[in-house]
């Protein structure tokens, strides 16, 4: 089922709009990860697609049909809520069968079908339990089973793993991925966790302040972010205030000058480099030498914080690399990985963004705004 939104907008009260004219065609049978910090409008967009919130403007199309005025209960859209919202007065099986019951499926058949779906999420033995006797992970699976049991045309997941602890979240992520892949449903997955978005999404839709900032395959968005915001939000990024020379051939960084990438516009710019795109090399191959400030062991890699002059930089190096502190660290940049963004004249340079690896980034880097 193809899902398209056009000019979708929603404002609550008098504040800035929660969603401002969002248009996008979600690829059929794929998982689109809606990623952005809290308050970016992801959930509001999802709710408008589900029919649970009325848009101020714009339209939602399912397979080309305008369903903007179709009530939620008639849209055949499955949804997993952040709180799971399982019905506490019903058993696990009755919860899963709920969407079949509203569709008039007879008791015997709906229970049988609910059992099948519970099997699929490996919760078959839990059918007769009351839902408040389940762990968080179990509740998450039941919520997913309930959203799938009536064979929805589209599946929406609103931060489905955010209520779980880190280890469980990672386990369930893999499980969820294989299940969703097997279903080949058009799926929208809202998250503020970049690691989740990168692993689960066939497509990434990065949102910021109610607008779509960038869409694309996760690897493309990661390697070619469209803005410093995306660069910082998706993983760690070094943003260096640089200049492209008047003839457009030199990229002047505060600590080194390189050949500018083709098509670079003359003038001030931000040069973005991921920590893994900087490497420690022999002195002969180095672009510059930096002073080591700290080395942090992250498991698979160690993250160095260095200063090239006054510019702070992060770089990820093999975890067994021994760094001496004698004459500074010789560093080379992977030129093909450098991404340039426009920079207003005099825009102040900032330090690199350091999200805790693999964890949610939002609250640390961006001010939390109210939905």
């Amino acid at each position: 089922m193809k899902l398209e939104v056009r000019g979708l907008s929603k404002a609550y009260g008098h504040g800035r709009p929660a969603v401002a004219s969002v248009s996008h065609v979600f690829p059929e049978g794929r998982i689109s990860a809606l990623l952005g910090p809290s308050g970016a409008g992801k959930s509001t967009a999802l709710w408008m697609i589900a029919g649970l919130t009325d848009p101020d403007a714009g339209a939602v199309f399912l397979d080309g049909r305008d369903v903007t005025n179709v009530p939620a209960e008639k849209r055949d859209i499955g949804m997993v809520f952040q709180s799971y919202a399982l019905f506490p007065h019903l058993t696990v099986l009755e919860n899963v069968a709920f969407g079949l019951r509203t569709r008039g499926v007879g008791r015997a058949e709906r229970m049988a079908r609910a059992r099948e779906v519970l099997e699929m999420v490996r919760m078959a033995d839990f059918g007769s339990r009351p839902v408040d006797r389940l762990s968080g992970g179990e509740q998450q699976r039941v919520a997913l089973a309930r959203a799938l049991a009536f064979r929805p045309r589209i599946l929406l997941l609103d931060e489905p793993l955010s209520a779980l602890d880190a280890k469980l979240r990672e386990d369930l992520r893999g499980e969820l991925l294989s299940l969703l892949r097997a279903l080949a449903l058009t799926t929208l997955y809202v998250t503020h966790d970049q690691a989740e978005a990168l692993t689960l999404g066939d497509e990434l839709v990065v949102m910021r302040e109610g607008r779509i900032e960038q869409t694309g395959r996760p690897a493309d968005v990661y390697h070619r972010p469209a803005s410093p915001f995306v660069a910082r939000f998706l993983g760690a990024a070094n943003l260096v205030a640089a200049d492209v020379s008047a003839r457009g051939d030199d990229l002047r960084l505060p600590f080194a000058t390189l050949d500018a990438p083709g098509g670079a516009e003359a003038g001030p710019c931000w040069a973005m480099l991921r920590p893994e795109d900087l490497e420690v090399v022999g002195p002969a191959e180095a672009d510059f030498t930096a002073a080591l400030a700290s080395a942090q062991f992250l498991g698979p890699v160690q993250r160095l914080r260095v200063f090239a002059g006054r510019q702070e930089l992060l770089l990820d190096v093999p975890n067994d690399l021994a760094i001496g502190d004698e004459a500074g660290v010789p560093i080379r940049m992977k030129r093909e990985k450098i991404v340039l963004f426009a920079r207003a004249e005099g825009e102040a340079p900032e330090g690199p963004s350091v999200p805790p690896p693999g964890a949610a980034v939002s609250s640390d880097v961006f001010p939390r705004t109210v939905h």
Binding site: L52, E73, F87, P88, F98, T102, P130, D132
Partner: protein, 270 residues
Amino acid sequence: MSLPVSPRRVARTVGIAVTVALALCLVAPLVVTALGAFVHADWYGQRSEGTGAVGTLGLFRYVLGLWSGALVISLRLVGTVLPLALLIGAPAAFAFRRRPFPGSGVLETLAMTPLAIPGIALAVGLLLGGGRTVRFDLLVAGHLAYTLPLVLKTVSNALEREDPDLERSARSLGAGPWLTAAWVTLPRLVPGLVLSALLVFAVSWGEFNVSFLLATPLVQTFPAALYLTYTTNSFPVAAAATLVFLAPILPAFLAIQALGGDEFRRGLST
């Protein structure tokens, strides 16, 4: 240096003493009353109409015979007020919480105000405003004024405790507004509704001020009759009448305790 008696211990002893004293204050009159209704009137050295009744249940037979009219009125009143209060109060609370409309806040505040109005004022108001309305209907109006706020408050609280995503998820699963109400909201509200029903019952059954002022010789509630008994009959008769009055209330509150299980708190499955 340690104190001879630890402060914690003192606090505990005082706490227990206060609790016991309170319990005694509440229970002792009940015990005396209960005994009074069963012992022979002569032991009290008091005689009045009715105390000549024979047998253990003689006093009750006398009281029930004397006030059967008032009992019927009170039962009819509760039987009318209880469903009305729930049928008006619960949907109103739902509207105020889930579908607020312009002016609904003012309306809600207005509905709560009778709680702050003295019964006498309300009764006089009803008498003046009621004109030639049937007296029983005036009683219903007076009792509704006092019981509706209780239903509104109890059901509102129950609704506010609910995860609003429950109703949303019901909708996303294909349940329209009516099915959502019938299959999700209502079953989840059962504990709140039972609680409001018991409150309405207790308040309406025991309401005195409005009932007393609106009473006529023909339309009189049981609490009004109780008052007459207290002022005109001997203690054993009044004690028996009091037990008749308490008879339906005590089981109701025991029922609440018994219903307090998991199943009840989750809501009843449909």
